[in-house]
Subunit: 201 residues, 2 copies
């Protein structure tokens, strides 16, 4: 007798698009023709550099945000919540696989790629109310050049090892996030310093 059976069979249907803030929608051109959601699923969201910067910062702070935090973040990056959730999932997966590693001072090290420095308000009270990008309205004019590529570790020798490259046997995957060292102090005070909920189990 096989005990491993799945009793739950229909979970595939519950998410409905609940777009919140209008933003780029890739399927602007072709849509709504007789198509329903099931058909047009997957329109790849393009996440821009500035958005990534924020995402990295948030992820560094807490790789497992709660629902509430997701909503907050999704406002900051101006992307649907679902997209943010998925991004976090995939990032977690990637980290677990050892494809990326977060270094304490705000650096993301990917395997055969340049380091990415995400300079996001790490020092500021993170879950606050205002978006990190203070109004730089504009489209196209980047302002803060979020990502700084410091290509120090290109690719030593990368033969074609196909996908899974095991980077190196360094410290176990454990990241150091969570209170990082210096933290750059400050912040403190300011009243509400929500400790970010911790997501609990």
């Amino acid at each position: 007798m096989r005990a491993a059976e799945k009793m739950n069979a229909s979970l595939l249907e519950k998410e409905r698009e609940k777009d919140q803030g209008g933003e780029q929608d890739s399927h602007g051109g072709r849509k709504a023709k007789g198509k329903r959601y099931r058909d047009m699923r997957r329109s790849r969201t393009i996440i821009h550099a500035e958005q990534l910067d924020i995402l990295y910062g948030c992820y560094f702070k807490d790789p497992n945000p709660g629902k509430h935090e997701f909503e907050q973040i999704s406002e900051w990056v101006q992307l649907p919540k679902k997209v943010v959730q998925i991004w976090f999932q995939n990032m977690r997966a990637r980290e677990r696989k050892g494809e990326v590693r977060f270094i304490s001072d705000g650096t993301l090290a990917a395997v055969g790629k340049p380091l990415i420095k995400f300079t996001w308000p790490l020092a500021k009270p993170i879950f606050s109310k205002k978006p990190p990008t203070p109004s730089n309205n504009n489209t196209g004019g980047i302002a803060a050049a979020p990502i700084v590529r410091t290509m120090i570790k290109p690719d030593p020798d990368a033969p074609i090892v196909r996908t899974m490259i095991k980077p190196d046997p360094d410290p176990p995957v454990s990241l150091i996030n969570k209170n990082g060292t210096g933290h750059s102090g400050s912040s403190a005070g300011t009243g509400a310093t929500p400790q970010t909920a911790t997501t609990s189990s």
Copy 2:
């Protein structure tokens, strides 16, 4: 343990609520928008780490509170009384089954998981009047997590060294076990998290 022959489809239509006031708003899952209770199937309440901390503390003090105490607790944790009652029931059941064990100094030992230290006012007069969460003024209305969380949260990426205690000392019957697994986390690190598929046979 899996298969169940009791097929009772869904007869759950009677949910009524007479809650008092503290309603958790995190039913975000099903957008609390136009849904009525009739449409809602059971929505699972998520109990956060801070709330768990309190619950553990209360449970440790007295696993069988009276009605009045339940009300008090439900205010502290900001959850409907019914939820608290159910939580206590489930916790009692879990303890009985040997899935968890409370250690005297405020530690909850679960089976395949790191110890949880619930540091709740164990020293304070527990059934007092003042909730741990000062009803405060939340400026802004967003949950501000006023609780001073000192507990170690069940952290997914803890560098735990597998401190898991030896769980079941004596299985009463032979049908126990369902898994165990340490899951959670990264640590396991590279190595696979074997976990057997169970099922076996």
